[in-house]
Subunit: 226 residues, 2 copies
DNA sequence: TCAAAAGTGTTTGTACTACACCCATGC
DNA sequence: GCATGGGTGTAGTACAAACACTTTTGA
C-alpha cells in the first residue's frame, strides 16, 4: 500500500510568536532572514515539521537551534492556510505562541538567520509571509488569555512585586487599571502567595515579593476590563 | 528548485465536528465507516486536504459530498499531531467545528461511509482514530463560546421563542438557568429582536417569536454560570 | 374553569468602581 | 523631614441571584 506521504501533500511549517516582557515593554522575537524569500526582512522564527516530529518537538527545536533558548510556556495558536502565503509553494503553518522571561535567556543567532532580536509590539516592522496576521492573532490571544489565566507569571521572575505584576497587565492590555482594585482582585483569586520576603535596596518602602501559587487547582480569577 | 511538496511531508486531513440541536438534544454527526481502518466503527467526517485547497473549501467539500449539506457556521478548532493517531501513517488533522440546524438539511450518505447519523453528545459511541479527543475539544469550545457569543442562533430556526433559546442554553451547558434572569440578560444584550409575531397553535399562551439581531456590532453579552 | 406555559417585577446580596489616607524607606 | 512609591479601607453603584404572582390560551 502506498504510504500517505508519498502522495503530494502541502509542506507543513511551525511558526512561533515568542513574547518577552522586560522593563515595561512587551516584545516579540523576530529573525532577520539571510536568504530568499524576504532576504534581510523580518519574520517569525519557524521550521518545517519533520516527518516523525510532533508540533511541540518542532517548537523546541526552533527555540534551541535558532534562538538558543530552552523549554518555555507554549500554546497552539492557529493553523494558517492561505495558498499564497509562501512564494516558494504551498505551505501550511501551524503556529504556537510562547512566553519567556528574556532575562533568563541569551538569544543566540542560528544559521538560517543572521540576527534574532526583540521588537516592541507597538513598533513592529514589516513582516514577511503572512506573519503579520499570525502576530496579530497571537497578541489578541495573549490579551484575552491574561484576563482569566495567569500567563503573566511566565514573563516575570520567580518572585515579583505587586507593582511589577500590575505594570505587566497594564502593558499587555494597553490600558490603565486601578492599582488598589487590581491588588485586591489578584489576592482574592489566590493566584499568588506572599513569600514573606521584601525587595530591598530601593530608595523607598520595600515591597513584598510574591510567587505564583502552584498548588492552585481551580480557576477563580477573571478580570473585567473596559 | 525542488518543490516543497516533493519532499516527504505528513498527510494533512480536515476533520469536522458538526453539532446539531433538535428536540432538546445536542447531537454530533458521525459516519459509520465501510472500510479499514475502523471498518464499521464510528468516526468524525473528514477528508485529506487537496494540494491547492483551502481549509474552508475542504470543509465545504466534506459537508457536501459526505453529508449532502451546504454552507454553515464553521470555526477552526485545533490541529492534532499525535504520530500514531492514524494507523496508516503520519496524518496531521486540522479540525473545525460546525453548527447546523438539522431541520434544514437531509443527511445524504456518501461513498466513503455507508451511514451518517446524529448521536446524542451524552451517549457517544467509541470513535476511531483520536476522534474522541477532537470531539471533547469541540464540546468544550462550544460550551465556552456560547457564554459570550450567540452561537445558539445557528442551531435554531430563523425565528424562535425565548423558551427555545433558554432550553438550548440549558442543554448545551448541561445546567439549569433561571428562566427570568436569562430572559432579562438576553434582552438587555440586544442579541435578539422581537419580530412582533407569535407562535400560534399551542394549547396555551402564544409566545413571542424572536430573531437574531444582525445589525448588532459590538458584543455586550456575557453569561456567568457556575 | 382549569392546566400549562408565557410574561413581569422586586428584594437581596455580592462584587466592582472610584476614591483618600497612612506607612516605610533612602536621601 | 521630605519625596517616592507601597499598603489599606470604605462608600456608592451596578449587576446578578433568588424568588412569586399575573396573563393568555386551548381544552
Amino acid at each position: 500500500m502506498k504510504q500517505f506521504h508519498e502522495y503530494r501533500n502541502p509542506a507543513l511549517a511551525i511558526d512561533l510568536v515568542v513574547f518577552g516582557y522586560h522593563e515595561n515593554m512587551l516584545s516579540v522575537l523576530l529573525l532577520n532572514r539571510n536568504e530568499e524569500p524576504f532576504k534581510n526582512g523580518w519574520t517569525l522564527p519557524g521550521a518545517f515539521l519533520q516527518m516523525e516530529e510532533r508540533f511541540l518537538e518542532a517548537c523546541g527545536r526552533i527555540l534551541k537551534t535558532k534562538l538558543g533558548i530552552g523549554r518555555l510556556f507554549l500554546e497552539q495558536l492557529y493553523s494558517f492556510d492561505e495558498p499564497d502565503r509562501d512564494p516558494r509553494g504551498r505551505v501550511i503553518s501551524v503556529t504556537y505562541f510562547a512566553l519567556v522571561n528574556p532575562g533568563k535567556f541569551e538569544i543566540a543567532a542560528g544559521k538560517m538567520a543572521n540576527d534574532a532580536s526583540w521588537h516592541d509590539v507597538k513598533k513592529m516592522p514589516e513582516l514577511g509571509f503572512d506573519h503579520k496576521d499570525i502576530f496579530r492573532k497571537a497578541l489578541e490571544r495573549l490579551r484575552s488569555k491574561i484576563l482569566y489565566f495567569p500567563v503573566g507569571f511566565e514573563l516575570l521572575d520567580d518572585m515579583f512585586t505587586m507593582t511589577e505584576l500590575h505594570e505587566l497587565y497594564e502593558c499587555i492590555l494597553d490600558i490603565s487599571i486601578d492599582r488598589r482594585n487590581f491588588r485586591r482582585k489578584i489576592l482574592d483569586s489566590e493566584y499568588i502567595v506572599d513569600t514573606g520576603l521584601k525587595r530591598e535596596g530601593l530608595r523607598n518602602r520595600h515591597p513584598s515579593l510574591y510567587k505564583f501559587n502552584k498548588k492552585l487547582k481551580q480557576n477563580n480569577f477573571h478580570l473585567n476590563v473596559s
